[in-house]
């Protein structure tokens, strides 16, 4: 930059600023010396001596300080000039050419001699065009060095003659003060002078410059616009008389100043935040500009702000670029670290980007379908050949067909079929006799992508229809995946082309691409985690230690919303307190235990609107990964959050409830048997009983003791089983409570006005069934009856306890259907019917599986009746 300054590279910008500031700065208001310009037409140079003397007479009358003529009037002889100099306070300049001529030297000598006699009249220096300064004129000569001699300018001579201006011998030019130019120099036409229309106050004690205007006179481009040379001279004389010449900083001073500003920027930019950097920079620019304006306005000093501004802009741009470059590098590094961490820890390789996409397809197929052998063939690009890619349970060389041309059989057959085709000829070698070979085309959107050759073993479990359907569906999916992968690769190749990058201004992979990748990875992972959390059977909400919800799953949201609790507006302590009906202080104690002791608590949920059998589990999630704290966020007690889960224990509760009922029944049987043994023992001692009866009593005691042992053993085996979770198994279960629950639910949720009439024994035996499915049986039957019943109708439920069976009767007063239809629905699988009847057919089979019996009857206009019997549970098998 300094080189640039030394080479005047920034001069143009600085001159522009100079001109602008000159136009808009205030000048020094001095009344000491004022210059008045009298403009005469160019032709007036040739006016008669009389005309000149008349004009001079008019001016002198008003007592000017001096009258300056840039050159001697043409009509004046030397003697005229001498007379004029004697009579008037004249100062006359000469053009450079005239000054250098011999005659001038003579006349100068003469004039000088004359002027020495009269100190008020001095003959002065040369009049010449100012030095060019860029594309305009801003300076005037003080002296002019010719080959022969050093000449003083008219302006300098005037200033020295009138104001005693002290001239620095080394200074050859000076900057004219154009500030307030519009008001500084009054301009009067010579015609007004000749007519005697001058105003004394304007002329008196002023320096009068007589100049010429006309087509042949030069016009100069200045900071205040194009002006005549005479006006330019007037400003120059005015500047020198008032010693208002504009002082410029020299190169060294400018460089020191620019150095200071650069140091300021270097210290400032890295220490302020990004969003204030630009503002601070503009403040510095404006400050520099204002400082410059201040110096120009009040001290007439030009500090060359253009250079300083360019220095500031250059340094700031470099710093800003470097600063952002560092940011970008840091961001990219961070993004790559995140991506690497995410990919390494969580994500499987992307199918589109992976070179091993066929392996992924093979893995998908092998883990889902039971295929004996599989070979995938891929179409060779821009060719009708195929190449084998991946083989499972066989070798790639096992393909007998050598042409690999999909324009030939057997490929053409598969393409014509558009799906799985069974091959008659041997396509894969080394196949067993019972292996059946198939070929599947892999095509999508009319594009042939490859083939899938496979074999299936025809054994007892072989269900060709089902397997081929699955293979067909898989082939569609694989084809679509391959097609989209190919499209994606095409797009990537297009994006990677240099000219595309050039046109889209992507010269380098920007940081945001890396960040975007990282965010996409994280988003994908987050979606998976949210899906996992929502898919959990337990309701869960994760709070941080500040009481804010980090994550809540759908199940928990629904559960809490059902009981008018908003997880986002309550803390973990509130949740514990509400769900377990404990005091808030107790809930806080629980949380303290979880946080401080890293413990876990499990509390029964006792909220009145949550069904029984739920447990609230509260535990802290520890921060096991130190990298998680990279963001600088605080993790009090190294705990990420407190996880509150609602665990459905109702099935366990149900197990114990069922087992308790079995125990109750066992207790009854034991009491009966013990009663029999006790009474028999007492009677055996009774003397009133004969021997034969006593023998019978003893036998009965023995039988009862054996039976007692058998009952205890059977019940013991039931106690040890987890029969509630075993769908297919059937054990003694209580039917009373689930039936009443179903009826109650239907009564509470019914839209029709239906009356439920129940006739149930006070004591019901346990029945042999599956606990999980028995309630479903009641629901299905009652739903069907409900859908058929008339408004204000009745649904009747009766249970009869017979010797070894419990009979359930469900009927309604409904519309009914023809009985043959009902029987057909119950027995014929192919008939079209509603889901309710399909369910009915399933439950009929279940009841039969439990050793029961199922009957159904319906009559149009009367309604429906379903009766089924289940075995009662007895201690004795």
């Amino acid at each position: 930059m300094w080189f640039g300054e030394a080479l005047n590279l920034f001069h143009g910008f600085d001159r522009l600023l100079y001109d602008k500031q000159m136009q808009h700065s205030y000048g020094q208001q001095t009344e000491n010396y004022s210059v008045v310009l009298i403009e005469a037409a160019s032709s007036f140079k040739y006016a008669s001596t009389k005309a000149w003397l008349n004009a001079l007479q008019q001016i002198v009358k008003l007592k000017p300080r001096a009258i300056i003529l840039p050159s001697k009037p043409q009509a004046w002889s030397v003697s005229d000039t001498q007379i004029a100099i004697k009579q008037y306070p004249l100062m006359i300049g000469e053009s450079l050419a005239a000054s250098l001529s011999t005659s001038l030297a003579t006349s100068l000598a003469t004039s000088l001699a004359t002027s020495l006699e009269d100190k008020s009249n001095l003959y002065k220096g040369v009049t010449l065009l100012p030095p060019a300064d860029g594309l305009g004129y801003r300076q005037q000569w003080l002296t002019f060095q010719t080959e022969q001699k050093k000449l003083k300018s008219l302006e300098l001579m005037v200033a020295q003659g009138i104001a005693g201006y002290e001239h620095d011998p080394d200074q050859v030019s000076f900057y004219i003060d154009f500030r307030d130019a519009d008001t500084r120099i009054p301009v009067i036409e010579m015609a007004r002078v000749q007519r005697g229309e001058l105003v004394e106050s304007l002329i008196k004690d002023s320096v009068i410059l007589v100049g010429y205007v006309g087509e042949l006179e030069p016009n100069l481009s200045t900071p205040i616009g194009a002006i005549s040379f005479s006006l330019y001279q007037a400003h120059a004389i005015d500047t020198l008389l008032n010693t208002n010449d504009i002082r410029h900083f020299n190169l060294i001073t400018t460089m020191v100043l620019s150095m200071l500003l650069i140091i300021c920027l270097l210290l400032l930019v890295p220490r302020i935040s990004d969003k204030f950097q630009l503002v601070s920079f503009f403040v510095l620019l404006v400050a520099t500009f204002l400082f410059s304006w201040f110096l120009m306005s009040f001290l007439a000093i030009w500090i060359q702000p253009g250079i300083l501004l360019i220095a500031e802009i250059t340094v700031f741009v470099v710093l800003y670029y470097e600063h952002n470059k560092q940011h970008t590098l840091q961001l990219r590094k961070m993004a790559l670290k995140s991506v690497s961490s995410v990919e390494h820890r969580w994500l499987s390789q992307n199918f589109y980007a992976s070179e091993e996409h066929w392996t992924q397809i093979a893995n998908m197929v092998s883990q889902t379908l039971s295929l004996t052998k599989t070979i995938f063939l891929e179409r060779v690009k821009n060719d009708h050949r195929l190449r084998e890619i991946k083989a499972l349970n066989c070798s790639l060389d096992d393909i007998n067909e050598l042409r690999r041309d999909y324009h030939r059989r057997p490929y053409t057959i598969a393409i014509e079929q558009g799906g799985v085709v069974r091959l008659d000829q041997e396509y894969l070698a080394n196949s067993a006799e019972n292996e059946i070979q198939y070929l599947v085309p892999l095509s999508f959107a009319g594009e042939m992508l490859g083939f899938w050759a496979l074999t299936l073993t025809d054994d007892e479990q072989f269900d060709e229809t089902r397997v081929l359907y699955a293979i067909q569906q898989f082939s569609y999916q694989i084809s679509e995946m391959l097609f989209h992968r190919e499209q994606w690769l095409k797009h990537q190749r297009y994006q990677d082309k240099s000219w595309v990058k050039l046109l889209s201004m992507q010269f380098d992979e920007p940081a945001y691409t890396s960040v975007n990748h990282a965010i996409n990875f994280m988003l994908q992972r987050l979606i998976v985690m949210e899906s996992v959390m929502d898919g959990m059977e337990t309701s869960a909400v994760l709070y941080d230690l500040f009481g804010r919800v980090i994550q809540v799953n759908e199940s928990m949201s629904t559960t809490l919303s059902d009981i008018d609790l908003a997880p986002y507006s309550i803390t973990a302590a509130d949740l514990i307190s509400q769900l377990s009906s404990c005091e808030l202080s107790v809930a806080r104690d629980y949380l303290s235990h979880v946080i401080l002791d890293k413990g876990a608590i499990k509390l029964p949920v006792t909220h009145q609107y949550i069904k029984k059998g739920f447990m609230l589990s509260v535990r802290g999630l520890s921060n096991k990964d130190e990298n998680i704290n990279d963001d600088g966020d605080v993790r009090p007690f190294e705990i990420i959050g407190v996880l509150c889960e609602l665990i459905d224990m109702s099935h366990i509760s149900e197990i114990y409830s069922q087992k308790e009922k079995v125990i109750e029944h066992l207790s009854g049987w034991l009491r009966n048997d013990l009663s029999s043994i006790s009474i028999a023992c007492d009677l055996a001692k009774d003397e009133r009983i004969d021997v034969e009866k006593k023998i019978n009593l003893m036998n009965m005691i023995k039988t009862k003791v054996d039976s007692l042992g058998g009952s205890v053993e059977r019940v013991n085996s039931i106690m040890q089983s987890d029969y509630i979770n075993q769908k297919s198994a059937h054990y003694p279960v209580d039917c009373h409570a689930p039936l009443l629950d179903v009826i109650k639910d239907m009564q509470n949720n019914q839209q029709k006005k239906v009356r439920f009439e129940t006739e149930l024994p006070f004591y019901l035996p346990l029945v042999i069934a599956s606990s999980k499915e028995l309630k479903g049986v009641f629901v299905a039957i009652l739903k069907l009856l409900y859908s058929d019943v008339m408004d204000n109708g009745i649904i009747r439920v009766k249970i009869f306890n017979q010797d070894s069976m419990l009979e359930f009767s469900f009927s309604n007063e409904g519309f009914g259907i023809p009985d043959e239809h009902l029987q057909a629905y119950l027995n014929n699988e192919n008939i079209l019917e509603s889901d309710e009847f399909k369910t009915l057919r399933i439950i009929k089979q279940q009841i039969i599986n439990w050793g029961g019996h199922f009957d159904a009857y319906s009559e149009v206009g009367e309604g429906m009746q379903f009766t089924f019997k289940l075995q009662s549970f007895s201690a004795h098998e």
Binding site: R671, S675, S678, K704
Partner: protein, 125 residues
Amino acid sequence: MNSLSKSILLVEDDRSLRDLMTMILELEGYKVAVAHDGQQAIDHLEKHEVDLVLLDLFMPILDGTHVLHWIRVEKTMETKVLVITAMTDDKTQSSIMAAGANALIKKPLDVDKIIQSVKALLESS
């Protein structure tokens, strides 16, 4: 009161217990009729008068609570009812007493408990 003039209806589904209790009561001089479920008991009571009904609660067809309800509510009979039950919880016992049972004996039974309870009930009249 002479026990020979007293008739008892024994309602019990467990055959062994029914036979043994019949034996005890007959040894004590009571006339004993038996029913092995609630329906048989009602059928018998509709045809015969008895002084005491020894009633087991948990039975097939019709359980003891139905029989008790039939006796007290439907027929408003004042026949004494001694309920035999294996249910030991207080709630069941109080509900049985509230339903009209005169007394209640809990299983397991023994001879003395049966005889004393029966005698106490019959003598109280």
